[in-house]
Symmetry: C2
Subunit: 343 residues, 2 copies
């Protein structure tokens, strides 16, 4: 088992000093031609690679970024992550990922662990529990330490940092608007509990579109489904039985698929009798039958932008520019129309 070769090894072998080796490998002008060639050749031969940890310790940066997300088995987060990883990699950064599993405690623990020198900055989306508790002291702690932070999708106004979000309210508004323009009046919203910031925003868009068109808000047309627990079909069946509904906006594609199933079993035709639109343009939307019209959240792009903002902040630190201007980047969702809506 070959051990990894170090500067010291090279220095000893070539009978020069460690500093000379270090400089020679960086092609420093200080070192003579012959020595440089000799050192470089030797290093290549023995496949010398500098130790990342040592460099990190010396230079105070790790070239790692920490990503904390609530769930990895989730199409949206997964695409965001892909965007982050792609951009970060292109800039020479690695990604350490932690899954909070929607738990406040795990989020805190992971964050503190990584904050102790393992990463140069964070990209995260808040766990459900954190949003519910409204406790962001761990975020404050981290930003106080001067660690850059970018929040995406599940964000909070409490923390002052860079953010990337979807135009949830506006896109919801426009979808409902579209429903109305195509002649639908009895529009339902299927959502999660309101402590999700995004759900709240989407509901705002829904309500405001109704209002904008003079349609009175009917709270009975809003169905709140549990986010993680098993959903019972009966709840959905009851909902559609006791309401005449001709269009539905769902805050995620699973809700949409579930509802479509129930509705189809009741003999209602999609999209002739009822239209469906869901958030999250994932696999399910593409392969449902009928294919689900869906709001693309452009996770890849969100991830890329988040990574870009973060790395910019990280690298600005070194130029010591204390220009604390935080941006909130708004990504525009796009409605991908498929078979579950009429035109």
């Amino acid at each position: 088992m070959r051990r990894k070769i170090t500067l010291k090894d090279i220095a000893r072998e070539l009978e020069v000093s460690i500093s000379t080796v270090s400089k020679a490998l960086k092609n420093s002008e200080e070192i003579g031609r012959d020595t440089k060639e000799k050192v470089q050749a030797f290093a290549k031969l023995y496949n010398y690679k500098p130790n990342n940890i040592a460099i990190s310790l010396k230079n105070k940066y790790t070239k790692n970024i920490g990503v904390i997300i609530p769930d990895i088995v989730h199409h949206f987060f997964t695409t965001v992550f892909r965007g982050i990883e792609k951009y970060a990699n292109s800039k020479g950064y690695n990604v350490i990922i932690c899954v909070s599993d929607e738990s406040f405690d795990k989020e805190v623990i992971n964050m503190e662990l990584l904050a102790n020198g393992s990463i140069d900055g964070f990209i995260m989306s808040l766990s459900a529990e954190t949003e519910e508790k409204n406790d962001f002291s761990h975020l404050i702690e981290v930003t106080n330490q001067g660690i850059p932070l970018v929040l995406f999708d599940r964000v909070t106004d409490v923390i002052n940092c860079d953010k990337v979000i979807l135009n949830d309210k506006e896109i919801s508004f426009s979808v409902v608007q579209k429903f109305i323009q195509s002649g639908r009046k009895n529009i339902a919203l299927v959502t999660t509990d309101n402590y999700f910031n995004v759900s709240k925003k989407r509901m705002e868009g829904y309500k405001s579109a109704l209002e904008h068109n003079g349609i009175p808000l009917n709270e009975n047309r809003i169905l709140t489904l549990p986010y993680h627990d098993e959903i019972e079909d009966t709840q959905i069946t009851d909902f559609f039985n006791s309401n005449e509904i001709d269009a539905v906006l769902c805050v995620n594609e699973i809700f949409a698929i579930r509802c479509m199933r129930v509705v189809q079993k009741m003999g209602i035709k999609i999209p002739e009798d009822i239209s469906f639109v869901g958030f999250t343009n994932g696999m399910l939307s593409r392969y449902a039958s009928p294919k689900l019209s869906s709001i693309a959240q452009h996770g890849d792009k969100m991830g890329e932008i988040a990574a870009q903002m973060l790395i910019e902040k990280i690298e600005r630190e070194y130029i010591e520019e204390e220009d604390e201007a935080y941006r909130t980047e708004v990504i525009e969702g796009t409605l991908i129309e498929r078979e579950s809506t009429i035109n």
Copy 2:
């Protein structure tokens, strides 16, 4: 912006030596009661946390494990990853993830980057290109350096290391067997190019089940679809038009869904006229219509076992037990029967 406090800071402030502080914080017997209390109180007050990087440099381990997978937006890998993350976290390890994007070069680059001190071990699944090229020199390089490696799912016989795989051949065999027992005789296989080890194994199972039942192999009943490029429906349509098929085994759920669609459009009834089973028991299987009977690969479990094997190897290194015994753990797939098969 509060800077992070170090041992040196505490030592200076309390007018003791750095070593004393270090020992006091570890509750060493060497240090007097009073001093210990003083130091600990001070550390707590200023929220001292040791710097991970410094510890890593000193102790030669990072408590990070590197995961390299071909794709993150993929249900199976995502579940494996969840299993890894969960177990690793419970053991105090962080996970650095790199996506090879099915590219050989990216796999190599990422691996070499991480191998330079950033991680204590690797868990990986080979990229398509790597399997195709059959070039594993980067893996050899890494294991030669003494870095533990666990391969899962997409593995190779060339490398001698711990592995976690599915019983691909056996489970395929048993599914085809089941088809036959339920009276189906014209059984198709929809697969990818054969350089995927798993596809090869699955095909072996398929063929061997036919043989076992005295059914002659008909190569026309094997459809090979491109893995990543867009699939054209026409290819599928032609396949089902020119073959009388009453049961289909697909090596992934996307292929299955695509085929089911085509077949349904042709007016063929599932499962009355034709049965479908796919690998990867993901969202698509659960929400397809009809719901797809599917082989659960137990990604969570694979991930957990892989992480367990890796961490065991990592921590054994310190006990310096050079007992190079590599295991291959075989996970048993289970057929989840839903609506696309008869009983």
